[in-house]
Amino acid sequence: MSTAGAGHNYLEHGKGLMSWLTTLDHKRIGLMYGIFIAFFFLLGGIAALLIRLELFGVGEMFTGAEYNKLMTYHGAIMVFMVIVPGIPAILGNFFLPLHIGAKDVAFPRLNLLSWYVFMAGSIMAVCTLLLGGVDTGWTFYTPYSIGTSGGVVLMVLAVFILGMSSILTGLNFIATVHKLRAPGMTMNRIPLFVWSIYSTAILQVLATPVLGITVLLLAMEKVFGIGFFDPALGGDPILFQHFFWFYSHPAVYIMILPAMGIISELITTYSRKTIFGYTAIAYSSLAIAGVSFFVWGHHMFVSGQSAIAGILFSLITMLVGVPTAIKLFNWLFTMYKGSVQLQSPMLYAIGFMFLFTIGGVTGIMLAVIGLDVHFHDTYFVVAHFHYVMVGGTLMAIAGGMLHWWPKMFGKMFSEYWARISYLFIFIGFNVTFFPQFILGSMGMPRRYHTYLPEYESLNQISTVGSWLIGTGFLVLLGVFIHSLMYGKKASENPWHSKTLEWQTTSPPFHENFEETPVVTAGPYEYR
């Protein structure tokens, strides 16, 4: 398969630990992110299982204080160390240059640096455990976070550093897309995955600095008592919420846009049909990115912001539904009359479409002020964002990893067990989170370690569901490990996909392509 003289594949290009720690190869850097993000996912997942265990019954397993910490670490790790970096850092790093026919990202050194910065931030975040832990929730709301002891300062500085890593990655990708496309690879021929990573990168660069200054101010508040957010000194705690959500709402699109990019690739490949509405899907990513800067107030309907602000934020939030629906309908039309193959990555893609739709529609419900006054800070919100973050982003990561696995490692995996993992995750997910919609509408508040007896049975169902999800991810891990050890050799293009990464060897050469490809057609010329 690999022609003589074309050089090693990237896994064999250089041996030993040092060759990895000093690598400038975007593919290796992607894998290094992958290993650690998977590890942090395990940590966050264990915290999640413990949270659900506590909520299995009215009785106490953990004290309230312990529960608060579990919930904080679950949220902070999953958001800042798993879902935000996840797709761009792993799959984006690996496939963005391949997708546009480049040899690497624009700034390979910076790329490696951002991995080290990411690791530094993550280690700092975990070290807060030694300082007594953090119990503020992942949102660090003032004034509580000012008063509480423990590792808040170190934690927010960790978030600052993780943000820097995110910015550097985004900046690198923007320059790569602008400057390194192969001859003939016009912006209207880049795969939709690239469009989504590109839109995400814009958000990473433009939104993250605001998070940076916000957490920096919070750290200064705690160290020097500067008083910006402290009512005792004339400061305004609500300003913290504005600042925080000004980043964190765009951040939810940092989490979902790349997932949508993966889904576009999967749907068209496994429907064996040209994507329907390429332009609409591409530009709707930009539209979502743009609108996302003007909706942050929907997290603050009950914070006392003015009625006018509330109404405006409510309306603009609903607007987000439009580009989102555009994507969904285009995927559906792609499948329509396609030869849909229910390969495991496609199963994950279809699961994504179901769950993300539920998450999106409940988001619109939350955007209705009258409803949100009731739902705010209840399990309804928890269910909403898990439907989009787990049902959406994590399903897409799983599907994407399976889809690209043969390319990344040159090995096939067990399709049978991959489907089993899907069944566990999909069913388990619904068993876990659907009851939470009901609990939320019954009024069960979020972030407490116990609840009234009438909420018990639904909570028990939810906890059982969490075990199913856990099993599903373990099976998936087993699939990957088994493939690495015993997997059959993968051909160049096992799924008969049309995008560029499948036109080189599996795994790809160190420099990706034997010679720079010249592009003469769009990415999805199926039929």
Binding site: A175, K179, V205, L233, G234
Partner: protein
């Protein structure tokens, strides 16, 4: 697309680029993107500044009285001069006059040092009067409630800016050393230009800080 204008001394460019020109424009774009994040980060501080200025105009009025506009004005002049010398430095490198460029870069770093020296004088004067930020404030409020908040802004904004001045000085020293070593010339000067852009943005931020903090009426 290659015009072959920008080439490193040794004629090389990184392996993943098709031409030195492509490498140059990519790097420049990267620098601009990075600078936009700096502006957005300071932007957050400026937004907070204006919100509180609307809420408590009196503390900004009273607070500004304790700053010496003379020091502020000198520092503004110093930084503007340094921007000029930085630009001259790049200009000379483009013309191949490396030793002239080196002089300009050194002057730029010295200007940065003068700026920081004056800041030091200003800070210690305020510490002496107990004009600390927020909670640590122990000076005279003159009956103006929440006055310490003004000093929180003063130290946050000038402090974050000061850190950037120090960073800039470090970066300029780095390119100055490389200039002396002969790494740059008319065909390759990307790092100098990038560092220069950073320095101009740091200046620019000061141009806004000066009137906002010192010249409030």
């Amino acid at each position: 697309m290659s015009t072959g204008k920008i080439i490193r001394k040794d004629g090389h460019y990184a392996h993943h680029f098709e031409s030195a020109e492509q490498e140059y424009t990519s790097s420049k774009q990267g620098v601009w993107l990075f600078l936009s994040t700096e502006i957005l980060m300071f932007g957050g501080l400026f937004v907070a500044f204006f919100i509180y200025k609307g809420m408590y105009p009196e503390i900004f009025h009273k607070g500004a009285e304790s700053l010496s506009w003379v020091y502020g004005a000198i520092n503004t002049a110093v930084l503007l001069t340094s921007s000029l010398t930085m630009a001259l430095g790049i200009h000379y490198i483009q013309k191949g006059k490396n030793s002239a460029a080196l002089t300009q870069l050194i002057i730029t770093v010295l200007c940065g040092a003068i700026f920081m020296g004056i800041k030091y004088i200003e800070y210690s004067h305020k510490f002496h009067l107990g004009l600390y930020p927020g909670q640590m404030f122990s000076g005279e409020t003159g009956g103006v409630e929440n006055l310490p908040l003004y000093f929180s802004f003063y130290y946050m904004m000038t402090g974050l800016h000061g850190i950037h001045v120090l960073l800039g000085m470090g970066l300029i020293t780095w390119v100055a050393i490389r200039t002396a070593r002969g790494d740059f010339g008319p065909k390759y000067y990307t790092p100098v230009e990038g560092v220069g852009l950073f320095w101009h943005v740091v200046d620019l931020i000061w141009i806004y800080l000066f009137p906002l903090l010192y010249l409030v009426e």
